[in-house]
Amino acid sequence: MAPTKDQLLWMYAAMAKARYYEDTMAGVYMEGKTPKFDIGAGTVPGEMHLAAGQEPCAAGVCVHLRPDDAVTATHRPHHVAIAKGVDLKKMTAEIFGKKTGLAGGRGGHMHLLDPEVNFSCSGIIGESAGPADGAGLAARLSGRDSVAVAYLGEGAANQGAFHEALNLAALWTLPVVFVIEDNSWGISVPKSKSTAVKDNSVRAEGYGMPGAHIADNDTLKIFDAAGKAVKRARAGKGPSLIEIVTYRYYGHFQGDPEVYRPEKEVGKLKAKDPIKRLRKHMIKKAGIPKGEIEETLEAAKAEVDEAFAFARESLYPAPREALDHVFA
């Protein structure tokens, strides 16, 4: 399956937007945290997990999805939320803890939930899997052909919840696609020290579903594998698993000294930047004019800048609002 020109531009826009978003957030996150880093201080306090480098995993999958398809994501959610079409202003306001945020500031960066596009995420490793099964089940019971996509890290593939959800999805022939973003690191623990198999796609077979392994963060290969998996799910043929070897440019969390990471690793990954590779393909192989690509990039950046400005200008919630929405 190869992408059309429109799909190429869509993916490029999603990836460029996510990259610019993460790079902008990296700078904003440090506001108020210097000269001495204090995690609770500044414009965006708390933990921050950035996904620069992992954009293909979001764009190459979400290009095939509709707003009524459900996506569950992880503690590193921004690129997926962007690709899924979460309102960028409300998302950014939420990360800033403002009243205009998706949850009025209650959730923050690790808990972005948007029913408009059926997006949710969790800070607990492996907890994205079960709800994806549930969304798939709901689609079946309501006679819809929508699908569910669960994002997980390679570390989550060793958590019980993952294994249970895979078995359940296969057993009940649920329209789910499990996407593993293998960025090699579970905080400081490399995959070689956490996982008994070299490649999680072989586990798919053990659970009665097809598994695909995508090496080297290749957007076009992700597009192809995801297209097939989503088509299979929509046709009622059941779940699939896709494991993508991807890159994490930043630390596990912002402020992570990354003492565990080999010194030159990030530089080597950046030399194979997936957005640059896609751009090259678009120009050389797909004949898309450079001007159109530039315009797409500028529009993406403008949208991000607007979202950050909106977040900054928005008010904080009143303190007492903490007590609202505990119950439905």
């Binding site: 708390g46 989550a156 060793n158 958590q159 579970g186 303190p319 609002e321």
Partner: protein, 341 residues
């Protein structure tokens, strides 16, 4: 020997563990990022270098498996120290904790020992939101078979850790992130203290009087000891002398210390960073009331987290979080004094 050597809580914990590992080859550590990283909250700093990979094991993200394995190893002659990175993660592995670790001594009529320490990070106030900021004292204290300890300072941290490792049953060691003395998270001044270089133990079930006073008893533990002391400092300026009791351990609970203090002061404020309802604060009040309600000269007060998911946004989180101002106001209420403006 430098008797005034000051250690952070995380350093004191790591020192206790290291000394016990030297003393007893059956002691080993496992958990996520406890090896090269030294523990996300510094509890195992330096241990990998000293003891190697066999005894200081990074695990996959598989809490049910490795905590269950901790129970099994403990029942097979080892003395494992297992780290559950954030207490909030207990959801994925609670069975291994409350049904296995906590009950196997009982199920075997005392014939099996389960000398496992489960150490875990608690606490919020730095905007880590609803799944990374909880304290959950009551969740674990409520369930039978687990000892539960929560130090407020480095001296207690080392002694309680040593006692926990030497205990033949399962001990949940709850350390507050904001007390660890991490370079990336502020901690109160009283958390780091002088710590003796030699090994020592602190018995469970013995509270400490952190501050003497005659007008009101404030009972608390962990981070809230420091907030209570702050409140006591402010109140002293108003002529109110508060006594602060640092419980140090929840199970066993030093009820006698609470009762004798309340017998002296007649007024009680209980402080807990955990959710208010169905927890520690209620337990302390019940202890007083069911022993002798006549001890109280005024209605007691509780300062605890409201029963809401912990909000991310700073103004909302700070609204909910117990702090020195709220504690001081609660004290004033028991004395029928006007609250601070």
């Amino acid at each position: 020997m430098d008797s005034n050597r000051i250690l952070t809580v995380s350093r004191a914990m790591a020192e206790a563990i290291g000394q016990e590992m030297k003393r007893d080859k059956n002691v080993f550590v496992m958990g996520e990022d406890i090896g090269a990283y030294g523990g996300i909250f510094g509890a195992t700093q330096g241990l990998l270098e000293e003891f190697g990979e066999e005894r200081v094991r990074d695990t996959p993200i598989s809490e049910t498996a490795f905590i269950g394995a901790g129970v099994g190893a403990a029942m097979s002659g080892m003395r494992p120290i297992v780290e559950l990175m954030f207490v909030d993660f207990f959801g994925v592995c609670m069975d291994a904790i409350y049904n296995l670790a906590a009950k196997n001594v009982y199920f075997s009529g005392g014939h099996f020992k389960v000398p496992m320490v489960l150490m875990t990070a608690t606490g919020g106030g730095y905007s880590d939101a609803g799944q990374h900021s909880q304290t959950l004292h009551a969740t674990f204290a409520h369930l039978p078979g687990l000892k539960v300890v929560a130090p407020s300072n480095a001296y207690d941290a080392k002694g309680l850790m040593t006692s926990a490792i030497r205990d033949d049953g399962p001990v949940l060691y709850m350390f507050h992130k904001g007390l660890q003395g991490l370079v990336w998270m502020a901690s109160p001044e009283g958390a780091a203290t002088p710590v003796p270089e030699e090994s020592y133990t602190i018995p469970f079930g013995e509270a400490k009087v952190a501050r003497e006073g005659k007008d009101v008893t404030i009972v608390t533990l962990s981070m809230m000891v420091h907030r209570a002391l702050e409140a006591a400092g402010a109140l002293a300026g108003e002529g109110v002398e508060a006594e602060v009791i640092d419980l140090r351990t929840l199970v066993p609970l030093d009820r006698e210390a609470v009762l004798s203090s309340v017998a002296k002061t007649g007024r009680l404020v209980v402080v807990d960073e955990d959710y208010r309802s169905f927890g520690l604060t209620a337990e302390i009040l019940a202890t007083v009331v069911e022993t002798d309600p006549g001890l109280l000269r005024a209605a007691p007060r509780r300062v605890a987290y409201p029963n809401i998911p912990i909000p991310y946004s700073r103004p909302m989180e700070q609204f909910a979080l117990p702090d020195a101002a709220k504690i001081a106001d609660a004290v004033r209420e028991t004395l029928d004094l006007k609250k601070a403006a």
